[in-house]
Symmetry: C2
Subunit: 135 residues, 2 copies
């Protein structure tokens, strides 16, 4: 027997346009400051787990498996709100990021900006990467 | 003979990891409010044109051609800053959006949020879509 919750989840999944690989890009934004932290990809299972647990879970394309953000580094993302765009092919995750989002130890993965036609580093690590990954 | 500008552009392009289709996802964020407006895709040519003109140009996957944001609707995006993420496979465009970003007449394309397991519309159009597209 299908519960109302199951039906709601099925309807929600139907409104998301997963690509040919079964993935959808998800932009993570710190909910209170508005800072864009990163972009990663989610599968249906990752979306369902994230909504069920309130802790953000992506699909790692490089590892080919679910990636519970912070599982190694401890830098988890708590979901505040999940939004879907007009075409259903991008998600926006408003999150509360513990510590830093980037594997380089920076708050955001977007730490290089074009200045005078060249890429310049515009943010420094807040945490040594070795400390994040127990090196 | 290659100018310094051409070399800088070539170096910048080399630091962007375009996918197998020659595209990279680009998140557009209103530079002063932090609002995430939309996600679209850029080709090398779109990145080069955007940097050269200061007006955001995407690659339309549905139309298979360059898409100068606002060319039909008048709702252009002026580039304030272009950032590249740690892996080089996502761009963040800090922009100044004229009017609305979404073809539905809403400021942002992310106007549907999950509430109680269902998608709810959380922002209304600021402009009638017919007015944007001359209907």
């Amino acid at each position: 027997m299908t519960s109302a919750t199951d039906r709601a989840t099925a309807e929600l999944m139907d409104s998301i346009a997963f690509d040919a690989q079964g993935l959808v890009p998800a932009v993570a934004q710190q909910h209170d400051t508005g800072e864009v932290l990163m972009l990663a990809w989610m599968s249906r299972e990752a979306v369902a787990e994230t909504l069920a647990t309130g802790r953000v879970c992506y699909w790692s394309r490089s590892r080919g498996r679910l990636w519970r953000k912070g599982e190694t580094s401890g830098q988890v993302q708590r979901l505040v709100e999940l939004l879907v765009d007009c075409d259903g092919d991008t998600l926006l995750l408003r999150v509360d990021q513990s510590g830093v989002a980037c594997h380089t130890g920076r708050r955001s993965c977007f730490f290089r900006a074009v200045r005078g036609g060249r890429l310049e580093t515009v943010a420094e690590p807040l945490v040594p990467p070795g400390q994040l990954y127990g090196a």
